[in-house]
């Protein structure tokens, strides 16, 4: 062994140098780890600041209409016709309703981020749920003069799912399609599906809307990302819906994917196993990478 070569003071010196070298290496390693974790926490902080800034922006737009129209009525009611005032109150009302949608979305997303979302699993008839959804989405379908088609297998598997979350997922996707499609078709297709002996339900929301470019598709599941188009300036949405959808799908061991062709339309495909394994821990995937 090397140590044997050294005697007395030389040996002591060698040993202290060695231990100094080891401590120094350890320190360097520690330093590396520290700067890595500080970088990670900086990234998380930046994502959080960005999220807060976006949230502030999303809340300010409808608030601006609410405050503006109510001040207009308060200050100018003597100069306004009754019809005008009624129309303004409708605008205040719809902006306030929209504000509530944003707040609910933000709440859902923060629950997901905090890992506090729980699944309430139930056996229910998927066909009945689809009928309910059909009547719920009809007003938003009509808004842009679209045509809704529900196409489902007659003998859909029995499912053990979280009914409300599945409902929210499907409505999110349909409302997304309804926003970006005018005088077109929106199809909800629901089929039984078997892969590697596992039973799934495959759901597709297909629209004939404005579609997206490849670059746009990449970002759609990140919170607050919205694609904009001049002919659809009246579209409303926080950009949170798709992020919530993706998180809920993954919590139910499912997947969501998107295909789109610019000016042709978009198809969202969801695949969820018919029985969600209760024993598996629910992992809320942190999706903060924007």
């Amino acid at each position: 062994m090397v140590e044997n070569v050294y005697e007395g003071a030389d040996r002591d010196r060698y040993l202290s140098e060695r231990s100094l070298e080891i401590s120094s290496n350890e320190l360097m390693e520690l330093n590396k780890e520290l700067s890595k974790s500080s970088r990670l926490s900086n990234d998380a902080n930046n994502a959080k600041s960005q999220f807060l800034a976006n949230m502030s922006h999303e809340l300010r737009s409808p608030l601006s209409a609410i405050i503006g129209f109510s001040e207009l009525i308060l200050e100018e009611h003597n100069n306004l016709e009754e019809d005008e005032v009624l129309l303004d109150i409708e605008r205040i009302h719809s902006s306030a309703r929209y504000l509530l949608v944003i707040i609910n979305d933000i709440l859902d997303l923060s629950k997901i981020e905090a890992g506090k979302t729980e699944l309430t699993l139930d056996n229910f008839s998927l066909t009945d749920l689809l009928m309910d959804i059909k009547s719920m989405v009809q007003p938003m379908i009509d808004k842009n003069a679209n045509h809704f088609i529900l196409d489902h297998d007659n003998n859909l598997y029995n499912v053990l799912w979280d009914k409300l979350k599945v409902q929210q997922i499907i409505i999110n996707l349909i409302s997304n399609s309804a926003k970006f499609t005018k005088n077109g078709k929106i199809i909800l297709e629901v089929k039984n599906y078997i892969e590697k002996n596992e039973k799934y339900i495959l759901m597709k929301v297909v629209d004939t809307g404005i579609g997206m470019s490849t670059g746009e598709i990449e970002n759609i599941f990140s919170p607050f990302i919205q694609t904009k188009s001049s002919s659809f300036v009246d579209q409303k949405g926080t950009g949170l819906g798709l992020s919530i959808t993706k998180n809920y799908c993954e919590m139910m061991d499912g997947t969501v994917s998107c295909e789109s062709v610019l000016d042709k339309g978009t198809t969202f495909t969801i695949k969820i196993p018919i029985i969600i394994d209760r024993r598996k821990p629910i992992k809320a995937r942190r999706k903060n990478d924007q």
Binding site: A53, S56, H57, E58, R60, S61, P62, L63, S64, A65, I66, I67, G68, F69, E71, L72, E76, N79, R91, S95, K228, S229, S230, V233, D234
Partner: protein, 121 residues
């Protein structure tokens, strides 16, 4: 009558602000995106521009830079209106050539004052 170009993509906010300003005896013309804003500025030569910053097609900062780079239109004061309320957003707006900055929801009286003092200049 003093002519104001209001650039705003959000329908409700556009209607609200243009009505309130019309009641204050301003003549209002509207653009709904940055490209339209630049074109209308050249064609209409308004006395002042109220510019939303997050706009489709061409954003408000780019539109303002183009307006301020054009000899024909560079004298027209631009007030940035934005729901982005951070200091960085304000600095960015001023760097792009905006003369003033107002955060949404706008304080109407304050906005009128700012408009007034810029128009008088």
């Amino acid at each position: 009558m003093t002519k104001i170009l209001l650039v705003e993509d959000n329908e409700f906010n556009r209607i609200m602000l243009s009505r309130r300003l019309e009641l204050k005896q301003y003549e209002i013309i509207c653009a709904i995106d940055g490209l339209e804003a630049v074109e209308m500025t050249k064609a209409e030569l308004p006395d002042l521009i109220l510019m939303d910053l997050s706009l489709p097609v061409k954003d408000g900062l780019t539109a303002t830079k183009e307006i301020k780079a054009n000899e024909l239109t560079q004298h027209i004061p631009v007030i940035a209106l934005t729901a982005h309320a951070m200091d960085d957003d304000k600095n960015e707006a001023l760097m792009a050539g905006c003369d003033e900055f107002e955060t949404k929801p706008v304080q109407f009286k304050q906005l009128l004052k700012k408009m007034d003092s810029l128009i008088k200049k």
